[in-house]
Amino acid sequence: MTTTNEGQGPLLEVRDLHVEFHTRDGIARVLNGVSFSVDVGETLAVLGESGSGKSVTAQTIMGILDMPPGKITKGEIFFRGKDMLKMSEEERRGIRASGIAMIFQDALSALNPVFTVGFQIAEQLRLRRGMNKKDALKRAVELLDLVKIPNAAGRVKQYPHEFSGGMRQRAMIAMSLALDPEVLIADEPTTALDVTVQAQIMDLLAELRRERNMGMILITHDLGVVADVADRIAVMYAGRIVEHADVFSLYRQPCHPYTAALLESMPRLDLKGQELATIKGLPPNLLRPPSGCPFHPRCRMAVDQCVAEVPQLITLGMDRLSRCFRAEEMITNG
């Protein structure tokens, strides 16, 4: 894969993606028109509660969504200007891991328990790059070294359960880098880890992204994690992107009540002693979504219009989008 971009557009672009799940209780519309893009060397954070559709988005991009129950009903995903959803399965397979790679939330279950870590890293090198066993294993040691696993040469022969949580996630990262991907999707890479380890892993990811000039999609529910790492943030709610902004603008002036509420519910040092704000209510049931704006039942700024119609994405400025009728109000009053 060369580094020249065939089309004009960004490295990876998702356009108007719709996904639904067919369950026993009915059809759940999990993604309702998600669009975003990531370019070389850039980090996009996709932020949302569980059930907001962020992981489904990642799985759809990777082509690892379980279908059924999942079904892509509409949309395009361009990688280097080519729509991956129109590619043959064989073509898509060629992009996985070498074009777009993914790291998963729970490295313990994402790594195969019955093979050594070295085998699992070397496997791709042998099968996709035609390396022989010895060279592939040597490269695996280098990769483990790269993600700062001590005693990498000894560690390649060990099984995933012999690694600690943090080390396992490092091994997972090493595995995802084996074929030098251009885009790395990290699906909640630190959620399963201790707080101290979380910071180390995030630093490692940021460093690797810089060194290799990859595009990165960082999926998380934790606003605190993204501030230092992301360039832009897309906030998702009920299968839609409700706000999109560069990281500074978003923190300074959220333009969607949901983002604002998320920010307020974050513990802050300067507000010590005050009670932490929470978002009332539960995420919507996607089998029976509320009318209009899906956030309106929980929104303190909701007006009659929010109940009646679904707000469209409004452009507020350079790369600044919000799906709220009162977005401009929020800016002026903010």
């Binding site: 799940f21 209780d25 999990v30 919507p284």
Partner: protein, 323 residues
């Protein structure tokens, strides 16, 4: 000898094979949202069960068998004990749907009446197995330690006995020479329970260990609840679901076990009306009078199938993982 009769199914590895099962056309569990209203395990299972055709088929069959057990007269007016050698081994006809056996008994009537002995043995054996194994498993799992180790080894001893071989030896040891039907049944029930309780014990034991480690049990203990109270209030209800599934399948299995042992001539005494005894009577004539074998065998298999099927669907419905 772990002959693969249905009886060996009561061995734990086999039950696991059934227990570790997944439904087929079920919508996968990956639900993006939570269920709107919380339902209890049992009402959820019931809701699930009513929609499964296999459940309805199994229940209907079991109801039919129970009806045969309780009021066989409903199905046949012929006397199962009346024998007429003149009609020995006659093939099925309009007069006698299932034909006649060697001694000229009406096969249809006998097949219907035979359900009684088989089901009674099955029910009692299940009851004993569940009570003994369940209590042993509960105590073993709850107290752990040395007691658990000793009881588990004792269970292993009985588990190590091949089912049919063990059954034959126990039966020949404890059977008197000319037992009454009640005696013979009791010995048979005891034998089956003796060879099967380790399975019931393993199931409750592992359920009890799981429950014991739950926080609410630790909390109850911290609040000073007695052992007895914890067992009755927390352990028992949680062992109930796996036990019920096991009991249903075991009931089918034990009916098959009764037939196998009776077929070997050491279960219920000759002359008793039971499917196993009938098949034993038939085995020397399978060339000339296959109907003597086929009808009791079909009834036996269908009854066993009904219970196994019921156990299987109940298990699927009770397993939250599969929903």
């Amino acid at each position: 000898m772990s002959e693969p009769t249905i009886a060996s199914q009561v061995e734990v590895r086999h039950v696991e094979a059934i227990v570790g099962e997944s439904p087929s056309a079920e919508a996968p569990q990956q639900k993006p949202d939570k269920a709107d209203k919380p339902r209890s395990l049992w009402s959820d299972a019931w809701y699930d069960l009513r929609r499964r055709p296999l459940f309805i088929v199994a229940s209907a069959l079991i109801a039919l068998v129970l009806l045969m057990v309780l009021v066989p007269q409903l199905f046949t007016s012929a006397d199962p004990y009346y024998a007429d050698l003149a009609r020995s081994k006659q093939l099925p006809s309009a007069n006698a749907w299932f034909g006649y056996d060697v001694q000229g008994h009406d096969m249809f009537s006998r097949t219907i009446y035979a359900s009684r002995a088989s089901v009674i043995v099955g029910l009692l054996a299940t009851l004993f197995t569940v009570l003994v194994g369940g209590a042993a498993g509960m105590i073993s799992g709850f107290y752990g330690g040395l007691l658990d180790a000793v009881m588990s080894r004792i269970a292993d001893v009985f588990f190590g006995l091949p089912f049919i071989l063990g059954g034959i030896i126990i039966l020949t040891t404890f059977r008197s020479d000319s037992p009454t039907l009640a005696e013979a049944m009791l010995v048979l029930v005891g034998t089956i329970a003796m060879l099967s309780w380790p399975v019931a014990m393993r199931i409750t034991r592992s359920a009890a260990i799981t429950v014991k480690q739950q926080d609410y049990v630790k909390a109850a203990r911290a609040l000073g609840a007695s052992d007895g109270r914890i067992i009755v209030r927390h352990m028992l209800p949680n062992c109930l679901a796996p036990m019920m599934v096991y009991a249903t399948i075991a009931l089918g299995a034990f009916i098959g076990a009764e037939a196998t042992l009776s077929y070997l001539g050491i279960g219920l005494p000759p002359g008793t009306i039971s499917w196993g005894v009938m098949i034993n009577d038939a085995k020397d004539y399978i060339r000339v009078a296959p109907h003597m074998l086929i009808f009791p065998a079909a009834f036996l298999t269908t009854t066993v199938l009904a219970f196994v099927m019921l156990g299987d669907v109940v298990r699927q419905a009770l397993d939250p993982k599969l929903r």
